[in-house]
Amino acid sequence: MTLDLSRWQFAITTIYHFFFVPLTLGLGWFIAIMETMYVRYGDETYKRMAKFWGKLFLINFAMGVVTGIVQEFQFGMNWSEYSRYVGDIFGAPLAIEALLAFFLESTFLGIWIFGWDQLSKGLHAAAIWLVVIGSNLSALFILLANGWMQHPVGYVIKEAAGRAELVDFTALVFNPRGWYLFWHTISSGFTTAAFFVLGISAYHLIRKQNLQVFQPSFRLAAIIGIIASIMVGLAGHAQGIYLREVQPMAAAASEAHWDTADPAPFSVIALFDSTGKREIWSLKIPKVLSLLYYFKLEGEVQGINQLQAEYAARYGPGDYIPLVALDYWMFRIMVGVGLLMIAIAAYSLYLPLRNWPEKWTRWLKWMIWVVALPYIANTSGWILTETGRQPWIVHGLLKTIDGVSPLKPGLVWMSLIGFTLIYALLMVANIYLLIKFMKAGPAATDSESIAPTNAGGKD
């Protein structure tokens, strides 16, 4: 019971936290670029742009920060046995994240918010760049930590101490699994920000408001959007190929690939029974899975059934199959939405070349809703990554069931309900403020500060 509750709590708090993180990662770059343009060219429009997107950034950032505190503490709270077993290794990137990244981003964000009049233009722009560096460094270290759970490296098992211990810090820092996750996540952060900016700019372009702010915003977002969404796909595919090598079970589950085959067929669509671990029907194209993994029409891809037998022989009897139906569909949702975003970004890049925005009102109306797309892809991607690793908490090293804290279920019920409720309430407040400031648009003149008290006064 405690295990299931703790897993639900981790899932809810982590997915919720990751609603805010990608936008912080990506939008920071937008603002830094805009403010740098302001410093370079002295055009007040860039400053208005930076301030407008900055306002939305700050609301989102606050949500990311407070939900991040939970992440830092809940390994010890809910996963104490995990923390004891791998703390020697896993704790290091977490502590480094706090020391290198959290201090940097929070201190310089404070300076940025309050320092418009206290600092020179150049120093002020430098502050937002340091925030961007801080938040991206933070992503790197937490993903190296996660990468280690997916593909543990640089450790030995000390039987006497009853735990895993770090022997090679550089292996941890250069773990390819972590770097694949980093590139995939950072580029999806850029994509999230690009679609956020595209959607909100479209809202104003339709109404022909503040064109001097939203036309360049839209263009910048379209350029970054197309590059980033293609990068997400490339990084994702490279990661998938590596996944087959180091976490073949997760890879096989994401493709519902049951039996080892050479060449291996690609499952286009599949239906599962209620256990989620048995297939009822599927449509397969021969040889294509091998093509995806090897770029040629042959190559062995291990199947779920053979891997289960192999793991049972190596680790002892047990069920080593993740929830295939979930992983299969999360993977397809993520990839499908990802491809759709590439198409939309490409079209958005092409749009401004034609007479716009007059002729494109209908398209722009749709563009408001595409803001949701990256959130769907980000969430399904993480559900795939984290559930695809099950039943392991650290792949091949420690099972999730052995990592949980010895807590009474009542305690975890309390925190699960408490976090869920407060997160739901905060989401309402967050969306209310985002919509309010999104609609209000940029300040008319520069006299207004970054967090004005009356920006939404028109509503």
Binding site: A62, L99, L407
Partner: protein
């Protein structure tokens, strides 16, 4: 020096840094609804800590992360053992964190009042809980041979723990009031000064009680080599010196941490089951790596955080046009 000792010191530095820095902004948060008589004044109060509170809070996050990296068993035992307390702490910090950002974003008085109280409780509860938790660390809590905490949330709310919590609240309020008297102007400054004078006495009394009762409930004084017969004299001297020490609650925490050494969590069931810097620690290799990282980056952090205080060193006026939050 042994890496285990270095890390005990570094974590002490992080917690002391947190209590010192976040201490005054918790205090400011607790004073907010009472010292700020109207919206502009409340905004002024919030703006005094506006650029700093988030950076200050990172000291706690880093202390948590460093505890995980250097003393995984301490991290695991304390966070899972004090589960309900940490859950409440997190709820409070979540509400407090968004409150600073959200409050100024809408003019509705109800909206603002809601977030004002979020800031108040979000500052009060962590002060109480952290004070209680630290008092219990020193006093000892039921920890069994497997390093698992066997008490409940209520176990922590013993007289010494509560006394520690109250002292923390009072000390933070005092520090917050002193900070406000330095950063605001006009009437607000006067009110903050008056508050500081009032709270000062309560801090002295609570500090005295904690000092006396620590003699009976903990062995930190014996460990520090304080002769028992000297305690009353020591206490009187402490009170006399309180005016000097009061703004330096760092020493208080340093004192508690030194008394704890080399233990990090005392077991009340059996002294042998206490967590120490040796049995709770990471491997020498990890400690070495983390020492290098820590010794490089902690000074850098101190430099740029110090710089941020220097940038915003001026007093804040009650002029709505100049207020950011």
């Amino acid at each position: 020096m042994h890496f285990n000792t270095i890390w005990f010191l570094l974590i002490a530095v992080l917690y002391i840094g947190f209590f010192f820095l976040e201490g005054f902004d918790f205090g400011v948060g607790m004073l907010l609804p009472f010292l700020g008589k109207n919206d502009t004044e409340r905004r002024t109060i919030i703006n005094t800590i506006g650029p700093h509170w988030d950076g200050n809070e990172v000291w706690l996050l880093t202390a948590g992360g460093a505890t995980f990296a250097a003393f995984p068993h301490w991290y695991a035992t304390m966070f899972s053992g004090f589960y309900a307390a940490f859950f409440l702490l997190l709820l409070a910090l979540i509400l407090r964190g968004v409150a600073f950002e959200f409050r100024s974003k809408d003019e509705n008085p109800k909206w603002r009042s809601l977030w004002d109280w979020a800031i108040f409780f979000g500052s009060l509860l962590p002060s109480l809980l952290l004070g209680v938790a630290f008092a219990n660390l020193v006093q000892g809590v039921p920890i069994n041979a497997d390093m698992t905490y066997t008490g409940t949330f209520w176990t922590l709310l013993n007289p010494f723990g509560l006394l520690g919590g109250l002292l923390t609240i009072a000390a933070f309020i005092l520090h917050g009031a002193v900070f406000l008297s330095l950063k605001t102007s006009g009437e607000l400054t006067e009110r903050a000064r008056t508050t500081a004078r009032k709270v000062w006495f309560q801090v002295v009394v609570l500090g005295f009680l904690v000092l006396i009762s620590s003699n009976f409930t903990t062995n930190i004084q014996a460990r520090l080599g304080v002769y028992k017969g000297l305690i009353p004299i020591f206490a009187i001297v402490a009170i006399l010196l309180a005016g000097f020490f009061i703004r330096r609650k760092m020493e208080g925490w340093a004192f508690a941490m030194t008394g704890l050494f080399p233990r990090v969590m005392v077991s009340s069931l059996n002294p042998k089951w206490s967590l120490t810097i040796y049995n709770a620690s990471s491997s020498p290799y990890t400690l070495k790596v983390m020492t290098i990282v820590g010794l490089i980056f902690i000074p850098i952090v101190l430099i740029y955080q110090g710089w941020s205080y220097w940038i915003f060193r001026k007093r804040i006026t009650n002029d709505p046009k100049t207020l950011t939050y």
